[in-house]
């Protein structure tokens, strides 16, 4: 009995700990994919599926037939076409004040964006970087292509 209650407690503790850790880092979620889409996190690459959580510093890349769409917690929507590589360099958002800052890097490929609360609250708080320039997003729908 004692053993059972201890393991129950251990499970509850693990769930709570896991939840607070993942909750702190989650900045969005993958909504759809086609073809091959990979996520690079902590030097480990893994295939992506709809429902997967994205975190700051994640790098998402697509293969020759790949594409994906994701929604971030400030309601920004980002989608990418084939042969793309996107890095979620910085992301900070306060859901209560709706303020934040973000920097997304497009290394190669195509990106379509509908900006969310971060850009709405303060113009230029949302930035998109490419190898040759930087974009200050005042709102809301635009697309970017980087040719190698």
């Amino acid at each position: 009995m004692k053993f059972v209650s201890q393991s129950v407690l251990a499970v509850i503790f693990a769930v709570l700990t896991f939840d607070s850790v993942s909750g702190a880092a989650e900045i969005g979620q993958i909504k759809n994919i086609t073809g091959q889409v990979f996520l690079l996190r902590n030097n480990q690459q893994q295939p992506v599926k709809p429902g997967d959580i994205v975190e700051e510093a994640d790098v998402i890349s697509t293969g020759t037939n790949g594409s994906f769409g994701m929604t971030l917690i400030d309601n920004t929507r980002i989608s990418a076409g084939p042969n793309s590589r996107i890095e979620l360099k910085q992301f900070r958002f306060n859901p209560t004040t709706q303020e934040g800052e973000s920097l997304t890097q497009l290394h190669r490929g195509t990106l379509a964006i509908v900006s969310g609360q971060i850009a709405k609250r303060s113009p230029d708080a949302m930035k998109v970087q490419t190898p040759t320039t930087i974009l200050g997003v005042r709102g809301t729908r635009f697309a970017v292509k980087v040719e190698e």
Binding site: G51, S67, P82, T133, V137, V146
Partner: protein, 200 residues
């Protein structure tokens, strides 16, 4: 003679290659707004900067930061970004449900909103739902914190019943802190007895 001509050709090819490298490396297009509101993107920084503020304005930025602007057709934009545009997730939607006084029952007029909410949640791939409960200022703050959370959890339970993965359902109570309509304390205000739901 022939070798000289070949040399010239090589030099020409090399020049073309170099100028080819210097052509647009980044291409940006402003797309029309979903709601039709004003929209703009600033490209570049400081002295070399262009602002795209009309639909289908574009900027091409070369490897040295030079910017060339023009306007393209909708067809051209849709062709260039076909796959990325096709992968855009649907816009997040918000719903507001109102509640009876000191109750977990939604008002009769909110029942259709609840129906629309459940339908929308059922339609979406990898859906996330954020449920935030609120109260009016009748009763103590502690009681209202509890009631607002109970309201949010009542909505959450309905969504779980519909088969939504509970990992992607968040319910929080904000008590009387965030009234839609500011009122003095202890004043009943039906518009503040609500649950706000964001479907993403």
């Amino acid at each position: 003679m022939i070798s000289v001509r070949r040399l010239v050709l090589h030099a020409l090819a090399a020049a073309l290659f170099v100028s080819g490298c210097a052509t647009a490396n980044t291409f940006v297009v402003l797309l029309p707004e979903e709601g039709g509101a004003a929209s703009a993107v600033a490209v570049g920084s400081d002295s070399r900067r262009a602002v795209l503020d009309k639909p289908y304005n574009t900027a091409a930025v070369d490897t040295r930061g030079g910017i060339e602007t023009k306007t393209i057709t909708a067809e051209e934009a849709n062709r260039t970004f076909a796959e990325a545009l096709a992968a855009q997730p649907p816009p997040p939607l918000s719903f507001t449900l109102y509640f009876e006084t000191n109750s977990l029952e939604v008002t009769p007029s909110s029942r259709s909103v609840l129906g629309a909410l459940l339908a929308e949640v059922g339609k979406r791939q990898a859906v996330e739902v954020q449920v935030t409960g609120h109260t009016d200022r009748v009763g103590s703050e502690a009681d209202n914190d509890r009631l607002s959370l109970q309201r949010a959890e009542a909505v959450r339970a309905m969504l779980i019943q519909r088969g939504i993965n509970s990992n992607f359902l968040r319910a929080v109570g904000r008590g009387e802190r965030e009234p839609l309509i500011p009122t003095p304390d202890e004043q009943a205000e039906p518009r503040n007895r609500r649950v706000e739901v964001i479907v993403r």
